[in-house]
């Protein structure tokens, strides 16, 4: 384990003078940010305008709702494996899949990565005192919380939450054959609209902080990849959520006013109990709008995970991230491509036939930048000095999980193979690997990594390892076999696991459920670890992982409001100067000037 705090923050003051005499660092372009310093307990801990607190609030709220999502998934698995127990009926089962999907994708992972990690890390890693508009940032969290309450409230209204699947496809979502087709749906859509509004407030903050409020010397190409991932994901979100907002708004009007945006003439009973009398709308329009948002959404979740895992791997392997420039360009390329591939979710939705060629080609192109990222993570480990810390274990688990999930994406993204596999358990397995398990593993790794920065205490390593083993091995055993159920043709979203003489997966089915229960319960270890360590964990020393990025170089740990004390840090190098030849330590923080490490032959600063 690392020993001693090699670098003193006081160096910063020296660096400041050194740079003001030399011409290497440009002068400050804007005056120091003025912050609102809280005057009461309420404005410090509840209505806090400090991005770090807001980040932690986001984290807690998103994790709380994720517990609901997790409980729902356990209920669904029990129902599938042991239908005799009757824990759910078809209505509640479909409500469970809907809520589980919506919660996990939007209210948990999006909020957690962008709201949680974004708020906590961006100002610290960019060398800013706070987000650019702390008040708006605070509002963002409270609107998010409101959207969560509205979402949960749908369990209390007549009919319960909507049961149309998280894709909310019309006309089904509105007609009487689906539970929660009036109140549940209205609350779901209101909740989504609130989420988008709240997110936009936060998202603008993250983007502008990265673009306009970096410290002196912090160029874009010196930012840690975590910031790059979160930053680009936020841009995607700001451009993709509008499609969801518009799609949701029109669905809301179709639901409560009986408009025909998506509704052709059909024979069905509406949510008000009368015959549906709509005419001429196109259900495909909703699918396009939904997936124009929905596919970028996948990368809204994945890109922050990519970024964070790059930092975890580099820090804990004590080696510079390999091919930093390529990593950045890969993130940007993935983001750009994510907007032109959306209809690969609709290969068998009955769209214009030639779309298949276009969308399959663009989709598989994403494999190239994603592949680059996979190679570069490996090449970072190669010839490194790997510490098997808990964050590193989770990062490695992410690698293998995402490798598997990414490769099965080649089945789903390719139009010819997708015909047979879409809407089967293969899809379920694929997307749980890529945007379920893999990002969550990164979340765990990131929590173990940055917990000391947030609380000043270390998480328990032993419990962390137990948590890692059960979670990783368990999750892999849950989802990997599902691919083969999919090959058999077992359709997803069936209340009863489909079995026939040709396709039977009994045995496997029960096995998956049992593992699910074990993995779900093992998360209690994680929560226990967090609560216990926050109270009585081992005190962390400054910069416990010997990392280079700025967040560990604050004068106090945990950092105070305003982060940097009197003077902002000045940045001289990229955040990956590990084991630079000629340097006395195996790491050189970003705010150490070249004159302080004269012997070091850093190639890329």
């Amino acid at each position: 384990m690392p020993e001693g705090d090699g670098y003193d923050y006081k160096i910063e003051a020296k660096a400041y003078t050194a740079s003001s005499s030399g011409a290497s660092v440009s002068p400050a372009e804007s005056p120091d940010q003025e912050l609102y310093h809280s005057k009461s307990w309420w404005t410090t801990y509840v209505f806090s305008q400090d991005a770090k607190y807001i980040g932690i609030q986001y984290f807690c709220a998103a994790t709380a709702i994720a517990v609901l999502g997790l409980v729902l998934s356990v209920l669904m698995r029990v129902q599938l494996a042991y239908p005799g127990l009757n824990v759910l009926d078809p209505s509640t089962y479909y409500q469970a899949i809907t809520m589980h999907g919506m919660i996990m994708v939007i209210f948990f992972l999006t909020a957690l990565f962008l709201g949680g990690f974004g708020n906590f890390l961006i100002p610290l890693m960019c060398g800013a005192r706070d987000m650019v508009f702390p008040y708006v940032n605070m509002m963002s969290f409270w609107i998010f919380l409101l959207s969560l309450l509205v979402l949960v409230a749908s369990y209390l209204v007549p009919g319960g939450p909507t049961g149309a699947g998280w894709t909310l496809y019309p006309p089904q979502v509105i007609t009487a054959g689906t539970p929660g087709n009036l109140w549940g749906l209205v609350l779901m859509l209101v909740s989504i609209v609130l989420f988008v509004v709240g997110f936009t407030m936060g998202g603008l903050n993250y983007v502008i902080t990265v673009l306009q409020a970096r410290t002196r010397g912090m160029t874009l190409m010196r930012m840690p990849l975590s910031v790059w991932g979160i930053f680009v994901a936020t841009i995607i979100a700001l451009l993709a959520f509008p499609a969801l907002l518009v799609g949701g708004l029109m669905l809301l009007l179709d639901t409560v006013l009986g408009t025909s945006f998506y509704m052709p003439a059909i024979i069905a009973t509406s949510n008000f109990g009368n015959e549906v009398s709509t005419e001429g709308g196109s259900p495909l329009l909703f699918q396009h709008l939904f997936w124009f948002f929905g596919h970028p959404e996948v990368y809204i979740v994945a890109l922050p995970a990519f970024g964070i895992v790059s930092d975890l791997i580099s820090v804990h392997a004590r080696r510079n991230i390999f091919g930093y420039r390529m990593m950045v360009w890969a993130i940007i390329a993935i983001a750009a491509l994510s907007f032109i591939v959306w209809a690969h979710h609709m290969y068998i939705a009955g769209f214009t036939p030639w779309f298949g060629f276009f969308f399959a080609s663009t989709t598989l192109m994403i494999a190239i930048p994603t592949g680059i990222k996979m190679y570069n993570w490996l090449l970072t480990l190669w010839r490194g000095n790997i510490r098997f810390t808990v964050p590193m274990l989770f990062a490695l688990a992410f690698f293998i999980t995402f490798l598997n999930g990414g490769l099965t994406g080649m089945f789903m993204g390719n139009v010819g193979t997708d015909i047979a596999l879409s809407d089967t358990y293969f899809v379920v397995a694929h997307f749980h690997f890529t945007i379920g398990i893999a990002p969550v593993l990164v979340v765990f790794g990131a929590v173990y990594h940055w917990f000391p920065l947030a609380t000043g205490r270390m998480l328990d390593e032993g419990l962390g390892k137990i948590h890692f083993w059960i979670t990783f091995v368990g999750a892999y055993m849950i989802y990997f076999p599902m691919h083969y159920q999919g090959l058999q043709g077992v359709p997803r979203r069936y209340f009863e696991m489909y079995n026939s003489s040709q396709a039977s997966s009994s045995g496997l089915n029960e096995f998956i459920t049992i593992v699910t229960i074990v993995v779900a319960l093992s998360q209690l270890i994680f929560f226990y670890n967090i609560i216990n360590s926050a109270r009585a964990g081992k005190k962390a020393k400054k910069n416990p992982w010997d990392a280079n990025s700025l967040e560990w170089q604050t004068p106090e740990m945990p950092p105070k409001h305003g982060n940097w004390g009197r003077t902002l840090p000045v940045v001289y190098r990229w955040p990956y100067d590990f084991n630079v030849p000629g340097a006395s330590k195996d790491y050189i923080p970003q705010n150490v000037s070249p004159s302080q490490v004269r012997g070091a032959k850093a190639e890329r600063t």
Binding site: L211, P242, G247, E279
Partner: protein
Amino acid sequence: MNRSTLPKGWDGFAHDWAADQKVFKGMSWGKAMMWIFLLSDTFIFSCLLISLLTGRASTAVSWPDASVVFGLEVFGVSVPLLLIAIMTFVLISSSGTMAIAVKYGYEKNRKLCTIFLLLTALCGAAFVSMQAFEWTKLIVHEGVSPWGNPFGAEQFGAFFFMITGFHGTHVTIGVIFLLIMARKVWRGDFDSGRRGYFTTMKSDYLAIEIMGLYWHFVDLVWVFIFAFFYLW
């Protein structure tokens, strides 16, 4: 930062993106934030108009003729799109006055800035009133509703009320903020750096420029709505 020493054009593009601290050199945080917000908002309106395109082009029912539906009878002569034309001119005028208000904001001319902000708000309010009149006329007299109308495809009313409603909401919010701004300018908040009520940050004339961006955007959107909804 002295902007005049920075490289210009594409060199400037490369320089700004490779530089530290700020990508948008010389641009305040608030203005950058408004620009990015408008970009996001552009996507919202684009999605609305794309939905209109899809809804209209995929329905087999005939689409009502906008110039007849929105025609007005003036002295017994029916003039197509008359009200819409007036609304368009009013909104463009408000954009003109806004641009001038921003100019006087730059120059810290308290009096003229206030006057032009108020003029802009007046035009905006006139626009919203005319829209309210139009809505009333359509709903009460012509029987157009979001779920049906006597002229043709149901989607006509649905898209009309949704798109103009969404735009009208933007205008209304803009008018409210214009009035707030006008009051602040008149009171001298921007000269004295008085602190805002909610955020407790100092007021600055930059706010006028940001307000201007928003207002011009609302006008910009109307240009597209006018072309795609009324003229198509």
